[in-house]
Symmetry: C2
Subunit: 377 residues, 2 copies
């Protein structure tokens, strides 16, 4: 108990669990008392930042830039992004990663009595922010291990939702919806409903494949907001930088509540340098395609079905939640950090990330034994 | 106008101005079409990070750490901070700077009908977050260029405030309240009211001087929350990392709404390394003391009264708001970035930061001419 007259949390906060969307690998390492030999559970890039980004960060450090606040407008970066995406600068907002952008988005649009729609088992940080806003969430089951765009649209209409969240490609399954399905969802949105289209993993796709899953960026539509990040294919999860693209009046809303000085200066510099290095992105795509094949072959060798993946991880179907859970725990004990979906029917899968070649070797070295122990137990 | 059926902002957001707490120096540089020769307006550290922090960031980059998310618990850093401050780890929360922590704090404690109390002209980012929460703010005038702790306490009681904000040492004036005054404010707080004691600048003071202005940290009192940062004396404003110290039940609230993966990994590593380098902090204090004397002497040579300062800037009294404004504009035109308080009676001052020796030379080189032009105009 707190001593006399403690400050009272808001009713919304008082009703929240002390939840963490994800337990970090460092926490698991502290619990097991040893570092992991392979860290392939957080969908981090095994390829790392572009050499140009790396050099830019080195140079910025040498030039004593860490002591200076970042540009609150991220002007140079937004200019480069606008050119890249064929939109105007005021149709882009840069922030400290998609998590932060999702938090601001919920503050912009969700109030008492509102409803947000997502998929049951989808990216939990969106749900975390929805709960933090004190708003009801409606969750739609996946269908064939894909987010069910038709059901998302129906739920949005039935519940008169303010926000609908869709990640495409999807986390945690790695699957994709088709462009036609996403377009149909956009058409089906009820009046005033905003689709949050999380494209964190889209940079793993080339232009043609990206267009096969999501419609082209159209900032004239105020009801679609796209999220991108430098944490995945650009390899800078630790730097915290991402952006949203949308209608300028929606983007303008972010200026009213975001942390204007919240973006790391080195991250801004590195992101800008990255955009000059599409060669790196191409190589990453190649490495990730190769890494997926490696993981899929490993799964099949052990009679486990790998799901198709458009991301830097492969979800592997173990047949049951209990088996998947035991496999994850066994891998943890063997020094391999992985994660798995938390709800049925996704929870029969374990999510294996594309690590470095060394990390894959370590996974491969223990996989047969761990799986054998799981099935013998 | 937005095309058919745009998403609607919440009523609170719809009523907010598209405000920025501060215009960044980069924005002013773009407006004037040239970079500043001296950047002494954002209270950044001219001394930069500790060499140990610098080396730690270099090593982390080389070790390909930028690709990895930071530890969501900032465990190692919190352990070091807990030891430093003689508190428990669960009495500390680390986040991406005080701005971000203030934003989370307002979300934790402010709801419809609540009131926040601050000083008229005090750090605007607190007010920005209060406005973002849709909450009424009561602002108490400064008294003798210091925050008026007695009046803050009275206002908190009269308006039954949930939060009271006090920075000590103060920004933008650089002045301090006495420990007795702060203690009396804490005693005077109405039931359930939380004092946010922003100590961003306290690291510029040695232990004795710090104790002369603020009471010792007492985490048994749930009604005081202290804020610290690595942006000022530790010289890493661009890295975005700070922390709050308070009662464990108040700190636990942050876990419910903060961005758990929001802290830059390099910032965590650099902050931890900094704490091993008190020698750097001592040197920074010496450089800042010297820099203040330099600025105060410059002001006095031009018959301007410098305010006493416990920070890395000196507010200089020009006698009138119009003169202060003209001086700031003139300095901008001469390539010197400075800022000034926005409201009376503080706005008769211009705030000069302690830059590098080169930056001070550039300020000194133009100061007489700019002031002359102001007074001749």
């Amino acid at each position: 108990m707190i001593s006399p007259s403690p400050p009272a949390f808001t009713p919304v906060v008082a009703g929240l669990p002390a939840s963490v969307p994800f337990v970090g690998p460092e926490t698991l390492e502290r619990r097991r008392g040893a570092p992991f030999a392979a860290r392939i559970g957080a969908n981090e890039s095994a390829s790392g930042p572009s050499p140009k980004a790396f050099e830019a960060m080195q140079a910025a450090l040498q030039d004593d830039q860490a002591r200076l606040y970042g540009d609150p407008e991220s002007h140079a970066l937004r200019a480069a992004l606008a050119e890249r995406h064929g939109v105007a600068m005021d149709e882009i907002v840069v922030d400290a990663g998609i998590d932060s952008l999702l938090g601001v988005t919920t503050r912009l649009f969700l109030g008492p009595g509102d409803v947000a729609v997502t998929s049951l088992g989808a990216y939990p940080t969106f749900s975390y922010h929805v709960a933090g806003a004190g708003v009801r969430q409606v969750s739609v089951p996946y269908r064939d291990d894909r987010e069910d765009t038709a059901a998302l649209g129906t739920a949005a209409g039935e519940h008169r939702a303010q926000l609908v969240y869709l990640s495409n490609p999807d986390n945690p399954m790695g699957t994709c919806c088709s462009r036609e399905a996403v377009s149909a969802l956009i058409e089906a949105l009820p009046s005033g409903c905003l689709l949050l289209l999380d494209e964190a993993y889209v940079d793993y796709l080339d232009k043609r494949d990206a267009l096969a899953i999501n419609p082209p960026i159209d900032t004239s539509n105020p009801c679609v907001l796209r999220y991108r990040t430098f944490s995945k294919a650009w390899g800078m999860a630790g730097m915290r930088i991402g952006y949203a693209i949308g209608h300028r009046e929606v983007i303008a809303g972010f200026e009213r509540v975001r942390n204007h000085f919240g973006v790391n200066r080195l991250a801004q510099i590195a992101a800008l340098a990255s955009l000059q290095d599409d060669e790196h992105l191409m190589r990453v795509r190649g490495e990730v395609a190769c890494g997926r094949e490696r993981l899929q072959a490993l799964a099949r060798r052990h009679d486990l079905e790998p799901l198709p993946s458009a991301t830097n991880f492969v979800s592997v179907d173990t047949g049951s939640a209990a088996r998947a859970d035991a496999l994850m725990q066994g891998l943890h004990r063997a020094g391999i950090f992985v994660r798995k979906p938390g709800v049925a029917p996704l929870d029969r899968c374990v999510r294996l990330g594309i690590g470095t070649p060394e990390e894959f070797e370590r996974l491969e070295a223990v996989f047969a034994r761990v799986l054998h122990d799981v099935d013998e137990a």
